[in-house]
Amino acid sequence: MRGSRRLRLTLVLLLLTAFTLTALDYNTAQNGPLAALRRGIDTVFGPLEGVVGGGASSVGNALSGLPRLGSYQSDNKKLQQENARLNGTIASMAGLQCQVDQLNQLMHFIKFTDYHPVPAHVVAVGPAGAFEWTATIDAGSADGIKAGMSVVTGAGLVGRTNGVTPHTATVLLLADPKFTVGGTLISQASVGFATGNGSKPMTYSLASTRSVVRKGDVLLTTGSDTYAPGVPIGTVTSITPDTNAISRTATIVPFVDVSSLDLVGVITTKTPTAPRVPFRPYGPGPSPTSSPCRAAVPQGPVPAASPTPRVTVAPRPSGSSTPSGSVTPSGSATPGGPVATATRTP
């Protein structure tokens, strides 16, 4: 009897402690009273994750070569050994090739947008897997990373950095329901917010009910204090026709599949290096309906060889394109049009 009383007392005590901790940590993003505890746990586990994560991926590479070994049926021992060695090489080459592809994509992203992301590997995926979408990367404040920076792959936006320790950082992935980013549709210069939806596609809510959203429209980040502008997020797959709501919503399928991430880049520079182009009124030129924006925008991952790579810098001026749309004398011009022209005429 005494044993069970002590047991119940401990249970109540533990539950109360857990409740108190939750209450203390509630709605305090980075600087709550428990931030130090969280940072401590992250700092201890981060390097360990890096070690285990690296080992796990090389085990995976080795295992992927094994099935091929079994199918080899020769009694020549020397040939078998040779085969095993070559298969091992193939397996590790496949891993290397994969990394080269991802690096190439990231390099292309750099060329494409003028950003210079800090490369990092995803070493771990957050524990509360069913509800949260987070990842740990092996770069931290020592590499110039701060909380709230955009994380990208060659294909587009991945998420933003959340907690940062000296050598690791936690990334809140764009699928997380608490992830929200300002987004602009490239053909609209629309203003709105894209929110994560777990394993389902993202939701984009537009501020204006009048903007015409089409299937296949590409969404870019608007950019803010910490977010880099002009990073591709995804494409519109469906539009919710809510007639009496104060905002319109669209479904966005992200370019990046956050369930299989390896090499990512963190954008540490605030804006692209290209200088801001002075605004000029939109004069006679190509018809606004044939805006080059839509054509130049990647449909899916950034295309390997795009004829006009500079045009994607447009999203950055597209921050200033919202006013340009209304100032333009030609009135109903699609704001995407003048932007591209403005960047071209020095």
Partner: protein, 169 residues
Amino acid sequence: MTAQRFLLGAATVVTALLLQLTVVSRLPLPGAAPDLLLVLIIAFALAEGPMAGMVTGFIGGLLADGLSAHEIGRLALAYAVAGYLTGLLHDETERSTLQPFGAVALGALTALGAYAVEGILLGDPRITLYPVLRAALSSVPYDVVLTPFVVPLVAGLVRRLDVDPLRRL
């Protein structure tokens, strides 16, 4: 609770958490990933009873909380409750081979329910019907599949430390 027993708990919890973060969560399985740490906690609860279950659950949950994006203390509470409940099954005199599987299923559902209720109370936008159902239909069965790998291992380790099994409380 000897120092040895504490070290065993700490080492297994840290190992499980590291494996969870680096390997288990990244397995290309449909639905939500299995929860290795929770299975470990239930294994301790089955081997040693409710006290060990809830203390291991609380500490393991606290560590997992620190590594995640939600409020600290939520998984600690959910795992402590799961550890306590499954620990109550520890005393059963005749143990069938299926009992650990049932205990893991019960514990996993309890932890999921407790975490979801906490989320609803806190107004967490992540807790909606779809992900909860998805976890109940994917993560919980995966946990049950992990049972034969974790429960006998923990039982063996605990037995090895225990000199006199009758003195266990």
